[in-house]
């Protein structure tokens, strides 16, 4: 306080016409913060997985190396990365306001995501059918819940994409739609980021 200047002729007390912040920036920052909190959610799940990934926690059931297949995981990796790249390319079309381009990118992203989820659900269904469901052992509980949490995120992303496919033709690229498209891009990319961690940690190092 000692360094405070005294007011002079140039001192302004009010800021009429203050433009404020940009809605889009606030929304993307807010959504980014939500994603960091979601990242902490996955962090906790990874911590749980790491603790439960021991032979003892398999309780006589299968261990990681018996249930994951890194090669199949690689196809999944390509599918999900393809999906996020397709979506990202859709946002490149957004720069020119190209509605058809944006929607085409979204549809491509959805198709690849369904392929990715198909692999995942097939794995889980096969395991369950063999009697190695999530209630078999502590280890399988951790494995199933980690994979399912990621898959549920993906399903919400797909619902979100469907909503956007309705809103783009209906509303055009207004501020809200653009903010949602940008947020969805982060959300979708985030699923790929989580998958990279899952793939490396569960499918490779764990196996």
């Amino acid at each position: 306080m000692a360094h405070q200047a005294a007011p002079d002729a140039n001192t302004r007390l009010f800021a009429p016409g203050f433009a404020g912040h940009s809605q889009i920036s606030a929304r993307t920052l807010g959504f980014w913060l939500y994603m960091l909190s979601d990242a902490l959610l996955f962090t906790a799940l990874f911590a749980a997985y790491a603790v439960l990934d021991t032979p003892m926690n398999a309780a006589g059931g299968p261990i990681a190396s018996q249930i994951v297949n890194p090669v199949e995981g690689f196809w999944q990796t390509i599918a999900i990365l393809g999906s996020v790249t397709a979506y990202s390319l859709a946002t490149v079309a957004l720069k020119t306001g190209n509605r058809a381009g944006v929607m085409l990118g979204i549809v491509a992203a959805m198709v690849l995501a369904v392929v990715f989820l198909g692999f995942g659900f097939n794995d889980l269904a096969t395991l369950t059918a063999q009697g190695n469901g999530m209630d078999r052992s502590g280890y399988l509980s951790a494995y199933f819940v980690l994979i399912l949490t990621h898959a549920i995120h993906m399903l919400f992303g797909l619902i979100w994409m469907l909503v956007m496919l309705v809103q783009i033709p209906r509303d055009g690229f207004n501020e809200m739609v653009v903010a949602r498209l940008l947020n969805l891009r982060m959300f979708w990319q985030f699923q790929a980021t989580v998958w990279v961690c899952v793939y490396i940690y569960v499918y490779m190092i764990g196996a």
């Binding site: 405070q4 800021a15 009429p16 807010g30 960091l36 959610l41 906790a44 749980a48 209630d135």
Partner: protein, 691 residues
């Protein structure tokens, strides 16, 4: 894969049967009668005075951060009262049930509460006080104060702000409902594992606890996002980071904790839920589960949560002390640094909650020393407040008295906290009431700061000060009661009394248990003083009417705008020139300066959607608790559909025209209340700009 639950289950009502309504327990009969009476009075009054529309328009659908803040605080105070009633039951039970020959009343072997009921009471006490009283009250202050301190129109996301509130309210409703439908968790507010697993807690109590916390913590996380974005993006022009008031700084640091810690709690509870609902083995003792994993995840959130509560308290003290010292806060920059140091260190200390579980000395040593590190920034803060008082001119108003009491509690809590951080000491008192006394010093610091904040900011929100003499009576009875109860509790800790005892077997504890009970009676008297304070304040509201700067010595921007604050906050956004802007303006005679002309203000429209979504979340929680699958499916689908519908809204708010603002500012200067928004429900679409 659905797990088998004991007891009947029907597709239509799930586990819900008529005998789940505990109509034959006398205490609950009285509680129910009281609750119904209160509900009839409130609802009757609303109907009689034809205020249904008013409540819907002005409160249930509001997106105004000040009203949302007020509702948070009201919810918090109601739950504080409920939690206090639980505390009173606990203390009374322990006095009555002391010693082998203690008589039993009302069907209990000792005392008047059978264990199953007592265990619910203490579990509810902890859960409510931490998550449904302290958290909403502090969130309420942040909501009211931070946008005003920053010179902003509202929060960054007004709609999401309302959503956070109604999720919290829905969750609080679930906790209250557990009194009359089914039971509450009997396994501690921390959810002692594996006691919370289905074989050991077969009833729906744990489910109530779990889903209520889960829903409210979603609200808290959303609120954290909102607060951080508000602080980052919405500061008035000229408000650089180091001109920001300390309360906003602590709000930022506390919400960083909220944002990152609550998801971990969500995972801990969701995995417990998977165990209870899907038959997984995360935390079971057998089949490859790891029960300490739950404890680890819970405290990974639980310890940051402590600082989540304490940091805004430090912020409130840092606003109140300088105001009534008529001096700037000593060591502003170190205060900011200390807040972030506390937030950072809070992430590496969680294991001190389970030093006794058998981990090696190197691990206990690491977490012990990390815990002690928290003492450094906390010590810095105490020193800073003390030096703020140097060469001050201190007025002992009610908020200042609460702040001084808070400092005292912080010293007591700090001393005992350092003890508990030492494993060698911790082993002797780990689960004793010494720990209870320690953390009650800390949470009563939260309560003290909450009352400091209530009396400090009340005139800002309602336009008149609270009655000073009843406020002092409330302060003295409350603080003396606190000293009595918790000094006795520290003594009991040294006498070896452990926590959560339904029957206190050692007769040597009797004298201190009686002392505690005397303190509890004084607490009851202090509550009466609180009620009288509110009554007399409302009666004398004309006499205690406050101008913009209610205390005459306040220092921050919220005191620049009229009291009560008009719904648009500032007619013209202020330009910030320095730290403690208002004190600077007052010093140079500029605090009464008014803007020359007004410009249109963009305001968001009210919406009922957050209320609907919050209530749907509560219905979904209820359906999950009772395993009524059809209702759960419908309410969850409805909730998602509501979120989607909301995204199709085109209403982007309305513009308040300069002439309207000028008229309202004139009215405010004449002293009439314009906190009600003009009804825009019919013509606001005309103001939406087209794209």
């Amino acid at each position: 894969m659905q797990v088998h639950v004991p007891g009947p289950w029907s597709p239509l009502f799930g586990r819900l049967t008529l005998d789940q309504i505990p109509y034959n327990i006398p205490i609950l009969q009285y509680t129910f009668a009281g609750a119904m009476l209160a509900a009839i009075v409130v609802v009757g009054a609303v109907l009689y005075f034809k205020k249904v529309g008013y409540f819907w328009r002005e409160w249930l659908t509001t997106v105004d951060h000040k009203k949302i803040g007020v509702m948070y605080i009201v919810i918090g105070l109601v739950m504080l009262f409920r939690g206090f009633a639980d505390g009173l039951l606990i203390r009374t039970q322990q006095v009555l049930a002391n010693g082998p020959n203690a008589p039993g009343y009302m069907g209990a072997q000792h005392g008047f509460l059978p264990p199953f009921h007592f265990d619910q009471v203490y579990s509810a006490h902890g859960t409510i006080m931490i998550l449904f009283a302290a958290t909403p009250i502090l969130t309420g202050f942040q909501n009211i104060v931070v946008p005003l301190q920053l010179g902003a129109r509202d929060m960054a996301f007004p709609y999401m702000n309302a959503l956070s509130l109604w999720l919290t309210a829905g969750a609080a409703g679930l906790v209250m409902l557990s009194l009359f439908v089914g039971d509450f968790s009997a396994a501690g507010w921390v959810g002692l594992i594996p006691l919370t697993e289905l074989p050991y807690s077969p009833s729906t109590g744990v489910d109530y606890w779990m889903w209520a916390i889960q829903i409210s913590s979603v609200g808290t996380t959303l609120n954290a996002i909102n607060m951080i974005v508000t602080i980052v993006e919405m500061r008035a022009p000229g408000m650089t980071w180091f001109r920001m008031p300390i309360f906003s700084w602590t709000t930022l640091s506390t919400n960083i904790i909220g944002l990152t810690a609550f998801p971990v709690l969500g995972v801990a509870l969701a995995l417990l839920g998977a165990d209870r609902y899907l038959g997984t083995h995360f935390f079971t003792a057998g089949m490859g589960g790891n029960l300490m994993l739950y404890t680890n995840l819970f405290w990974l959130w639980g310890h940051p949560e402590v600082y989540f509560l304490i940091l805004p308290v430090f912020g409130i003290l840092s606003e109140v002390v300088p105001t009534f010292c008529e001096k700037p806060l000593f060591g502003y920059v170190t205060m900011v640094a200390a807040s972030f140091a506390i937030a950072g260190v809070s992430w590496v200390v969680w294991l001190h909650h389970f030093f006794t579980m058998g981990a090696g000395p190197d691990i206990n040593g690491f977490f012990s020393v990390a815990t002690m590190l928290v003492g450094i920034p906390t010590g810095v803060k105490v020193f800073n407040w003390a030096f703020t008082m140097y060469r001050a001119r201190i007025t002992y108003t009610v908020p200042m008295l609460w702040a001084m009491f808070g400092l005292f509690l912080l010293l007591a809590g700090g001393l005992t906290g350092m003890m508990l951080a030492i494993p060698a000491v911790n082993y002797t008192v780990h689960d004793s009431v010494f720990v209870i006394a320690h953390f009650h010093c800390m949470v009563l610091l939260v309560v003290a700061a909450a009352f400091a904040g209530v009396s400090y900011w009340f005139p800002k929100v309602f336009g008149f000060r609270l009655d000073e003499s009843w406020g002092k009576a409330f302060f003295w009875t409350f603080s003396i009661a606190t000293l009595i109860v918790f000094t006795a509790m520290f003594a009991l800790g040294f006498e070896g009394e452990t926590r959560r005892l339904d029957w206190t077997f050692n007769t040597a504890w009797k004298p201190m248990l009686v002392v505690e009970e005397i303190g509890m009676i004084l607490y009851v008297i202090s509550l009466a003083c609180f009620a009288l304070m509110l009554v007399f304040s409302i009666v004398n509201r004309k006499k205690n009417a406050a101008g913009p700067d209610a205390w005459g010595t306040s220092r921050t921007l919220e005191w620049l705008t009229p009291s009560p604050v008009p719904f648009y906050n500032f007619a013209v956004t202020p330009q910030v020139n320095t730290r403690d802007e208002l004190a600077w303006r007052r010093k140079h005679g500029l605090d009464k300066a008014q803007p020359e002309h007004f410009e249109a203000i963009h305001m968001p429209s009210n919406t009922g959607m957050p209320f609907v979504i919050g209530m749907l979340a509560a219905v979904w929680g209820f359906a999950m608790i009772w395993r009524i699958w059809w209702l759960a499916a419908i309410s969850l689908t409805a909730l998602i559909v509501c979120v989607i519908i909301r995204s199709f809204y085109k209403n982007e708010g309305y513009h308040l025209q300069p002439e309207e603002i000028a008229a309202m500012e004139r009215d405010l200067a004449l002293g009439s209340v314009v906190s009600e928004q003009p009804d825009r429900s019919h013509h606001h679409y005309s103001h939406v700009e087209a794209h």
